[in-house]
Symmetry: C3
Subunit: 347 residues, 3 copies
C-alpha cells in the first residue's frame, strides 16, 4: 500500500486535519500500528490510545480534537476503515495469483467454472465440482467430487478439499490445509476398532480464513460447520460435527473434539483443547493452553486445566505459586502449637 492521506480521505469521504501529503504504507489496528500505518478509532473510551498509537494517521469521529498526529474525520470511522481495508487488501498478494485455467489443471466432467475463475498448474478438479466467479485455486490443489467453492474464494497451493465439501464466498485457505477428512469414529468390538463411516460433510461460511496445515473433519452425518467471518490460524484440529458460530477466532494449534459447539465471537487462544459434546457460549474466551472439559457460558473467560472462570483460576494459581511459603507458615504454626502444648503441660 502506498497512498497519500489526501487520496485516502477521498476514498472514504473524510475531512483531513493535518498533512494531506503524508504517505500511508500500511493499515492496522490502533494497538498494533507502526509508523506509516493508518488506523481508526471509533469508541470514545479508547481515545487515550490516540496519544500512544504509533500509527501516522488515524480515522476518527467528526468531533475529534486536532492532534499532533494527522487525522481523517468521518461520520463512521469503523465503516470508513472497513471500506479502506476492502479496497486495499485484495491487492496485497494478488499480483502473484494464477490467471485463467492452467493447461495442466485437470478438470473433471460436469465441473461448473465461474467467470474469471483461475486454476493453477497440476490442480485436480474432480467431477461435478462447482467453482464460483473470480475464485482463485493455486497450483497442486485437490478438489473432491461434488465440492463447491464460492466466488472470490482463494486457495493457496496444496490445499485438499474432499468430496462434497462446501466452501463459501471470499474464503481464504492457506497451503496444506485439509477440509473434509473422515471424522475419527470407531465402534470397538472385542478390542478391535471398526470404522464408523463418516458420510456427512463440511460447510465453510463466507469470509472465513483458514491457516496452513489445518485439519477439519467431515461429519459422521450432517455437517461440520464453520460460521461466516470466523478466522482459524495454522495447525488447528476441528473434529467431526463441530459447529462454530460467526466471527470467532481460533488461534494456532487449538484442538476441538467431536460434536462440540462454539458460539459467535468466541476466542480460543493458542493450543487450547476442548473435549467433545460441550457448548462454548457467544463471546466466551478460552485462554491459551487451557483444557476445557465442560461447557462455558456466554461471555465467560476461562483458563487452566481443567479450565475455570478466569477469576477463580487466577486465585487458584496465585495460591499454588504461594505454596512453598504456605508450607513454611504451617511448619511455624506447628511449632507454636507444640510450644503451647508444652506450656499447658507445664502448668
Amino acid at each position: 500500500m502506498k497512498k497519500t492521506v489526501k487520496e485516502i480521505a477521498e476514498l472514504i469521504g473524510g475531512q483531513i486535519v493535518g498533512d494531506p501529503g503524508l504517505v500511508v504504507t500500511g493499515i492496522s489496528g490502533i494497538k498494533e500500528a507502526v509508523a506509516g500505518d493508518i488506523t481508526f478509532l471509533a469508541n470514545p473510551k479508547y481515545f487515550p490510545l490516540l496519544e500512544k498509537t504509533q500509527a501516522s494517521v488515524v480515522i476518527t469521529p467528526f468531533d475529534t480534537q486536532a492532534l499532533l498526529k494527522t487525522i481523517i474525520r468521518t461520520q463512521n470511522p469503523s465503516l470508513a476503515f472497513a471500506k479502506l481495508m476492502s479496497l486495499v487488501v485484495p491487492s496485497a498478494g494478488g499480483k502473484y495469483h494464477p490467471k485463467g485455467i492452467h493447461p495442466t489443471a485437470i478438470i473433471g466432467n460436469g465441473v461448473s467454472l465461474g467467470k474469471d475463475a483461475a486454476i493453477g498448474a497440476y490442480t485436480v478438479v474432480e467431477d461435478n465440482v462447482s467453482i464460483g466467479d473470480k475464485a482463485v485455486i493455486h497450483a497442486g490443489c485437490y478438489l473432491g467430487h461434488n465440492s463447491k467453492i464460492g466466488r472470490e474464494t482463494l486457495l493457496y497451493a496444496h490445499v485438499s478439499i474432499r468430496e462434497e465439501v462446501i466452501i463459501g464466498d471470499r474464503v481464504i485457505i492457506h497451503n496444506g490445509t485439509v477440509i473434509g477428512s473422515d471424522g475419527f469414529g470407531f465402534a470397538t468390538v472385542d478390542g478391535l476398532h471398526h470404522k464408523i463411516p463418516q458420510i456427512g460433510t463440511v460447510e465453510i461460511g463466507d469470509d472465513v480464513e483458514i491457516g496452513a496445515n489445518v485439519t477439519i473433519d467431515r461429519a459422521r452425518f450432517d455437517k461440520t460447520v464453520i460460521g461466516k467471518g470466523t478466522k482459524i490460524d495454522n495447525l488447528v484440529q476441528i473434529a467431526h460435527n463441530v459447529v462454530i458460530g460467526q466471527n470467532s477466532i481460533i488461534v494456532a494449534q487449538v484442538g476441538i473434539s467431536g460434536s462440540t459447539t462454539i458460539g459467535k465471537s468466541v476466542i480460543l487462544a493458542g493450543q487450547a483443547g476442548l473435549v467433545g459434546h460441550i457448548n462454548i457460549g457467544d463471546n466466551a474466551v478460552v485462554m491459551a493452553q487451557s483444557g476445557v472439559n465442560k461447557s462455558v457460558p456466554a461471555g465467560v473467560a476461562v483458563w487452566g486445566y481443567p479450565a475455570k472462570p478466569i477469576g477463580i483460576a487466577r486465585r487458584v494459581n496465585a495460591a499454588v505459586q504461594n505454596l512453598p511459603k504456605l508450607y513454611n507458615t504451617i511448619t511455624e504454626l506447628k511449632k507454636r502449637i507444640e510450644e503451647l502444648e508444652a506450656k499447658i503441660k507445664d502448668k
Copy 2:
C-alpha cells in the same frame, strides 16, 4: 447405507423381533447412535443402554427379551456387527475413488502394480515401489523409492510416503500425512548441531487408520512401528523409533517422543505429550493434555502434568482447586493460636 432389517438379518444370520421392513441408514456404537442407525449390544452389563440408545435397530444375543425397538438376535452380536461393518464400510466414499492408473501418474522403473490397483492424477511413484491388489492411491501423492503399499490400502490426496516405508493391508491414510520423514536427531559439537543420519524406516501394520497432516518419522536405525489395527487421529506427531502395539487409539495432536514404546489397546487422548524412552503398558490410558514423563504400567490411567495415576491426580487437583479456602482456614488457625498464646501469657 440403505438396507432393510430383513436384508441385514440375512447378511449376518440373525432372527428378527420387530419390523423386518424398517430401513437402516447408518451403523454406530450404542451411545453415539442416532435414529436410523443399527448398533449392537453384546455385554449384559450394558443392557440398560437398550432403553436409552437412539438406534432404530439393535443386534443382540439370542436370549434378549422383545423390546419396543426392533432387534436382531444372533449367537455372537460382536461378530455379527463386525461382519456388517466390513460389508457396509467400503461403500462409503468408495464411489469417488480413482479407477485404474491415471495417464498423468508417473510410475518409476521396477514398480510392482497389484491387480485392480488405482492411482490418481499427478501421483508420483518412484522406482521399485510395490503396490498391492486393489490399493487406491488418490491424486497428488508421493511414494518414495522401494516403499511398499499393501493390498486394499487407501491413500487420500497429497500423502507423502518416503523411501523404503512399508504400509500394510487395508490401511487408510488421510490427506497431507507424511510417513518416513527424518527423525529429529543431531550431535551437538561446539554448539553446532550436526545431523545424525536417519537410515531406518517406518512400518505400518494392517488395518491401521491415520488421519490428516500426521507426521511419523523414520527410525535412526531399524523401524518406527505402528501395530495392526491402531487408529491415529489428525496432526499427531510420532518421533523416530517409537513402537506402538496393536489396536491402540491415538487422538488428535498427541506428540510421542523418540524411542518410546506404547503397548496394545492403549488410549492416548488429545494433545497428550510423552517424553522419549519410556514405556506405556497395554491397556493404559493417558488423559487429554497430560504430560507423561515416566513409564506407565499396564492397565493404569494417568492424568496431569506431570502425569500421575488418575486417582492421585484427581485428589491433587481437588486439593488445588480448594486452595483459596485452605488459605482462609490457615489464617483462622493462626488467629486461634495467637489467642491461645495471649491467654497462656496472661495466666
Copy 3:
C-alpha cells in the same frame, strides 16, 4: 555408512589404537550410540562415558589412554567428528534424490537455475525464482514468485514455499511444510475481523533443518527470521514476525506467537507454547508443554504453566503433589488447637 576404522582415520587425520579393520556402520552422539557406531569425546568431564557408550569406535583427544574399545586419537575430536559427519551424511538418502530437471516440472519466466540443481516431477516453480547450485527440490513442491532457494538446499515432496521467501544454503525441509503463509492478523471493527495484509516475508538461514508439516508465517512487514543452524521438528507453528537466533532447537508441536524473539542456542521442548511479543534469551531452555507468558532471561530454564524458573517450578510442583498430605496435617493441627482451647477453658 560402511567404512573401516582405517579409512576413517585417514579421512580425519587420526591415530588408531585398536582394530583398524573394524567396520563402522553408523555415526552418533556418545549417549545414543549403538554397536557399530562411531562417536566422539572431546570434553574430559565426559570421560566416564567412554566405559558406558555402546559405540564401537570413539574419536578422542591425543592424550586418551588405550581402552578395550578401539579409539582414533586426534588433535580436535569435535572438529574431526564434524568433518566425518559432513562427509558421511550427504550420502544417507541422497541416492534417492531426483537428478536434473524432470520434464513435468513447470519452470516460470526469469527463473535462475543453479548448476546441477535437481527438480522433481510436477513441482511448480513460479516466475523469477532463484535456485542455487546443487539444490534438490523433490516432486510436487511449490516455489512461489521471487522466492530464493540456496545452494545444496534440499526440499522433500509437497513443500510449499510462498512468494518472496528466502531460504539459505544447505537447508533441509521435510514434506508438507509451509513457509510464508499469511500471518494471523485482523483489525476488528464492530465485531467483524478485517484482514490486515501480511506483506513481509520469511528468511531461513543457512544450515537450518525444518521437519514435516511445519508452518512458518510471513511477517506483516519486514521478515520472520530463522537463524543459521537452527533445527525445527515436525508440526511446529511459528507466527508472523518471530525472530529465532542461531543454533536453537525447536521440538515438535511447539507454538510461538507473533513478534516473539528467541535467542541463540535456545531449546524449546515439545508442545511448549509462547505468547507474542516476549523475548527468550540466549541458551534459555523451555521445558516440554510449558506455557511461557513473559520473557525468559538468557541461560534460564523454565517449566510449567505459567512457566517459572525450573527451581521454583519444581518446588511448587513438589508442594502441589504433597497437598493431600498437607490437608491431613492441617486437620491434625486444627484438632490440637481445639484440644488446647478446651484445656485453656478448663483452667
